[in-house]
Assembly symmetry: C2
Homo-oligomer: 343 residues x 2
DNA sequence: ACACGGCACTTTAGCGTTTCAGTAGCCGAT
DNA sequence: ATCGGCTACTGAAACGCTAAAGTGCCGTGT
């Protein structure tokens, strides 16, 4: 509890307890080789001196850092505004906390830089495992990790993109089905989608599912790809609504764009939901607070974070992990969707 | 580039370059003691073998981790929805990235746990510096860091709360002045504020400033404290508007509550801005996308993150840091504010 | 011709743990 | 009484790096 001017090491604790440093180590780590009495004594002394094993020394000796690596794509505007990442971090962190693991976070400006960071982690051993996010089609990171199997890696992406790497996948195609069927049942026959970047893996998955299902149901379907920003969402909305025979319903790939789209519709004098139904992929407070509230495909992102953390801990433990599935999407109906207008 | 089954160390590089391990170290770290020719050779070999110094060993040898610690208060709901934290992380990360520093992130469920994490960092040396956020009045962390001056610490809080610790402060009182004067000039005489938790330092600072300025200007002022969540924001709005002689303007302590408040007003049939003006503290995309757009006190949070990172790096370098000031708030006028209604 | 300083290295000693290989003492079995 | 096998420890090596101290060599000034 008291402040110490000079650094206290395991030897200080050993001396103060009248044993050797190895005894202290055994005592601290709950290993056999010390009597209950000495163990208690050592722990008491350690607490009094405020000693904990030095992280670097420990990491060096057992080549375990108790850290998990996460690279965030740098786009402060988007990162900040999209609740997704922070929710995921909450879930990851909460679960890691239980096992005294930390998150090591870096920002990357682009894909090359991210690859560099990952290679750095592989070479320096600064993390015990890492999580891959936002995979693209043919993402070079997959290949990189395939060649470095000693670094436990979990991909958070559709299993079709991860080439057999341990994966936490979500049923995006199923969710597309739910959403489209819902709109179909409301009588919509011309729908549009404001999607994320085309090269992103899950855009691709959703693209394919949308095309297939709308075709099957005989609906007209149009898709605009964006960069996920609110500006792009508003702009896409304007373009979609400016043509004759505009869609009667729009599905946005994230809630930020959905909110921006709803505002844009108001600006254009298009009434939601009477003239236009709006849906969001991913649900957050924004969908709730919007006026009218936005119908959304809800999923438990914090829960996914927790799951991802557990899977990575398994991998670190040497257990096998294949493809696991996130908890499913659920449609959350609010006021932004209604039967399609006549005509 | 090739994958390696067995771990490569500095000795492998040394052998392959025909020099000793220290020569490799000197070459890599740009220190004198090796010729340009050997340096080039060593670097080439290192690249070919894919070698980088092991992080733990390096940290142990020079007691520097190149990591900065950040404890996030765990409230996934709030954390995710409030763009503040993620913006800050973006700024921090971007600046740290330049110097090859990482963020070490942990989640804490409550204050005690956070103190525990900090003590752990102090004892284990797992971070080179740390950033304190969301200080409360008489926050125990201040005392803790005062007693452990060997751990460079920057507080992101009003300087009046940090007892002389290196601090990045903001002019919250000044911002209160701007906001209140603005509403006063629009003719508002009864204003209210939906604030954050009372025990939070910056709530306190703003509370004091609001009381003082509204008194000076002879305005009626009412303040409700909340937990920052959208639900609380909506609820507070309802209560404020339900009394006779309700306020003609409400200022919210964050944009999440402002958005929720605006929605609530719509539900209650109170017209914004004709019958009620709304302002938000902190500006984000939500203020922009809301309909009507919400007038806000804008500040550059990413910039603050960058500044904080720079200051922490200075501290790590042994430089003195006193009290620095964030870039000032600026009023961003949108459609949610208008002259006070007659009567 | 000779000390001298500087350069380009090498050797060695940490850094603070963990862990493996002993070892001393004791107890029970022979 | 002797031996084997525990238990409860100790000593020392190993982890992979950095950095201080040491060494040989060469060019220079006198």
């Amino acid at each position: 509890m008291a402040a110490h001017k000079t650094k206290v090491t395991i030897f200080d604790v050993a001396k103060a307890s009248g044993v050797s440093s190895s005894a202290v180590s055994y005592a601290l780590n709950g290993k056999p080789g010390v009597s209950d009495a000495t163990r208690a004594k050592v722990l008491k002394v350690a607490r009094e001196l405020g000693w904990k094993p030095n992280g670097a020394a420990q990491a060096l000796a057992q080549s375990k850092t108790r850290r998990i690596g996460l690279v965030l794509g740098y786009d402060p505007q988007l990162l900040a505004v999209e609740p997704y990442m922070m929710s995921l971090i909450s879930g990851l962190g909460a679960e890691l906390e239980k096992q005294d693991y930390s998150l090591l976070v870096r920002l990357s400006m682009d894909g090359d830089e991210e690859e560099g960071i990952i290679q750095d982690w592989i070479a320096t051993g600064n993390v015990d495992a890492l999580l891959l996010l936002n995979l693209e089609i043919g993402d070079p990171r997959i290949d990189l990790m395939k060649h470095n199997p000693q670094m436990p890696t979990l991909a958070l992406a559709d299993a079709s993109l991860t080439a057999g790497l341990p994966t936490l996948t979500s049923d995006d195609a199923g969710a597309v089905g739910i959403a489209v069927q819902y709109l179909y049942d409301l009588g919509h026959r011309r729908i549009a989608r404001v999607a994320g970047p085309e090269e992103l893996g899950h855009s691709y998955i959703r693209d394919a599912a949308f095309s297939q299902i709308t075709t099957e149901l005989g609906m007209r379907y149009r898709c605009l790809h964006t960069d996920y920003t609110p500006e792009a969402g508003a702009d896409a909305t304007k373009r979609l609504l400016s043509v004759s025979s505009a869609p009667t319903a729009i599905i946005y790939d994230n809630d930020v764009m959905a909110l921006a789209g709803e505002s844009q519709a108001a600006v254009l004098g298009v009434k939601v939901p009477d003239e236009l139904s709006i849906m969001s992929w991913d649900d957050s407070f924004m969908c709730e607070a919007a006026h009218p509230g936005i119908t959304a495909l809800h999923r438990d992102i914090v829960g996914s974070g927790r799951m991802a953390a557990q899977l990575m801990l398994k991998l670190i433990n040497g257990e096998e992990v294949g493809v696991e599935e996130e908890s499913p999407y659920a449609l959350k109906e609010r006021e932004s969707t209604a039967p399609a207008p006549k005509g």
